[in-house]
């Protein structure tokens, strides 16, 4: 069975390294501040014992007050997984650091998120719409898109 890492244990390590950046940890999900996302992700990937080298999926949930970006990370070596989350409160111009440098699989998934939610990924090599055409108005997966 794939073990779900305890978010509490992981966030202890994270808090020692990135003070004030962990907002919440419950179950197997760690919520961090968006400005620390890239560093935290790099830490989770590279730290021996965690080795979260496989990005299972990334997606976004729109809660109207904020966007919650979800990364599901897995370690093929240890067969364990962890959910990394962050929140973006700026609805007009949401942006976040891209993790393509860490996991190449984030390329299309970040483009899909950009396409559907309008979140800009800073540092993405080719950020443009994935499914819809350039010139499409609005971001259809947002909850207030009609």
């Amino acid at each position: 069975m794939t073990t779900l890492l305890s978010a509490q244990n992981v966030s202890k390590e994270l808090m020692a390294r990135f003070p004030d950046m962990v907002v919440e940890s419950s179950g197997s999900a760690v919520l961090v501040k968006s400005q620390a996302l890239l560093e935290v992700a790099a830490f989770l990937k590279a730290t021996p014992g965690l080795d979260l080298d496989y990005l299972t999926l990334m997606t976004v949930v729109d809660y109207l007050d904020y966007f919650e970006v979800v990364y599901l990370l897995t370690s093929l070596q240890h067969n364990h997984s962890l959910t990394l989350k962050t929140r973006l409160f700026d609805r007009d111009n949401p942006s976040l650091a891209s993790v393509v440098g860490l996991w190449k699989g984030a390329d299309y998934q970040e483009r899909e998120v950009y396409d559907m939610f309008g979140i800009k990924f800073v540092g993405h090599p080719n950020l443009k719409r994935l499914f819809l055409w350039e010139g499409f108005q609005g971001y259809p997966m947002r909850k207030d898109y009609l």
């Binding site: 069975m1 299972t56 999926l57 997606t59 093929l76 190449k104 299309y108 998934q109 499914f131 259809p140």
Partner: protein
């Protein structure tokens, strides 16, 4: 006198027999060599995730049929597993076995299509494909027998399956299980040492182990690159923990290895079918679940080893009758991430073969 040259662009697709649907490769060529390639898709985008937000949890199941329409029961399964996790429902044992049987039949159907059309892409026009279709037809007959549908099965339900297997199903699968291995051997004999197949696929479209992990590849694409990773083993669902089977892997990560992995997996699927049939218990096939299911607020991720890779559903509930959000982890889309790197430096004909060896379904890529 120096000849002036400049790169030019070739569009393969969207309407092209080898793109398995509507998919476009925008290739920048230097003579006959590909110097850059940009995949363009979205032609089949229907907004399944958005439509799902307006439907009940059960009402979303038919939407999943239409993603990877070559293996509909597998899609159903991944979705209902995520909802069951969210709602805390457990399917009865007989239903778990039926799920394994359906999942493996779906894998066999999808893989026969994959290797058949792969050979078609190689230029073995129609013959291998029609051989494979012949066998796939038997699987579709079995699906039709079970739920009345050949492609869009809509068979799984939250808490079990929609109806019990009919009486004639078990003898029919038993017959199929006896015949299938012989057929796979016959087919594989035609292909595996064929000189043209070897020349066209060995060392072509190599995906390194590191790259495969980095792009989040899964299924035969990941295993073809030598990573022994299969959700059925690493995170067993239904009753896979009671089944004996091996995980075939490749070594070189080329088109040939991906083909070999698929053929071996078909053999393993037959093995699993044999065991599941032998162990199939009697009993209920559906747990009691309220008609208007309202899972408690929260999020859950359910995943299976689908024919094309890790198929997962991330479902978020707000306590109402419709999912607040559901996201599909489509293996076809993610496996495509490395296509560009895999085809640069090769010829168009090799790009077609490489693309075919990834085995995607555009219904799932675009959703």
């Amino acid at each position: 006198m120096a000849i002036k040259t400049e790169p030019f662009v070739v569009n393969v697709g969207p309407q092209h027999p080898s793109t398995h649907g509507v998919f476009r490769m925008r290739m920048v060529m230097d003579g006959e060599t590909i110097v850059d390639m940009e995949p363009v898709f979205g032609y089949l985008h229907r907004g399944v995730e958005k439509i799902g937000e307006t439907r009940t949890y059960t009402g979303c199941i038919p939407l999943t049929d239409r993603m990877d329409y070559l293996s509909a029961p597998a899609n159903n399964l991944a979705y209902v597993m995520a909802v069951e996790k969210l709602a805390g429902v457990k399917a009865p044992e007989r239903a778990q076995y039926i799920r394994v049987i359906m999942g493996e039949l779906a894998r066999l159907a999808s893989h026969s299509m994959a290797v058949g059309s792969f050979l078609n892409d190689l230029g073995a026009m129609a013959t291998p494909l029609v051989y494979m279709w012949r066998e796939r037809e038997k699987i579709l007959d079995l699906l039709e027998m079970t739920c009345g549908q050949r492609l869009t099965s809509n068979y799984m339900r939250v808490g079990g399956v929609s109806q019990d297997l009919p009486e004639e199903f078990t003898p029919a699968v038993k017959k199929f299980v006896v015949e299938m291995p012989r057929f796979i051997d016959e087919y594989d004999q035609l292909i595996k040492d064929n000189e043209i197949v070897l020349a066209r696929t060995k060392g072509v479209g190599v995906l390194s182990k590191e790259m495969a992990v980095s792009i989040g590849a899964s299924g035969p694409v990941l295993r073809g690159s030598g990573v022994k990773w299969d959700i059925r083993k690493s995170d067993p669902y239904a009753v896979y923990d009671r089944m004996q089977f091996d995980i075939p892997t490749g070594t070189a990560g080329d088109c040939y290895d991906r083909y070999r992995v698929r053929v071996e997996e078909m053999r393993q699927s037959v093995r699993i079918l044999e065991q599941a049939l032998a162990q199939l218990p009697q009993g209920e096939v559906r747990a009691k679940v309220p008609q208007r299911l309202r899972p408690p607020a929260g999020a859950a991720y359910g995943h299976i080893e689908g024919p094309k890779g890790e198929l997962g559903f991330y479902v978020v509930s707000d306590g109402s009758v419709a999912p607040y959000r559901f996201h599909i982890r489509a293996p076809s889309l993610i496996n495509l991430s490395a296509l560009r790197e895999m085809v640069i430096g090769w010829k168009i004909a090799d790009a077609i073969v490489t693309f075919g060896s990834i085995d995607i379904c555009l219904g799932e890529v675009d959703r």
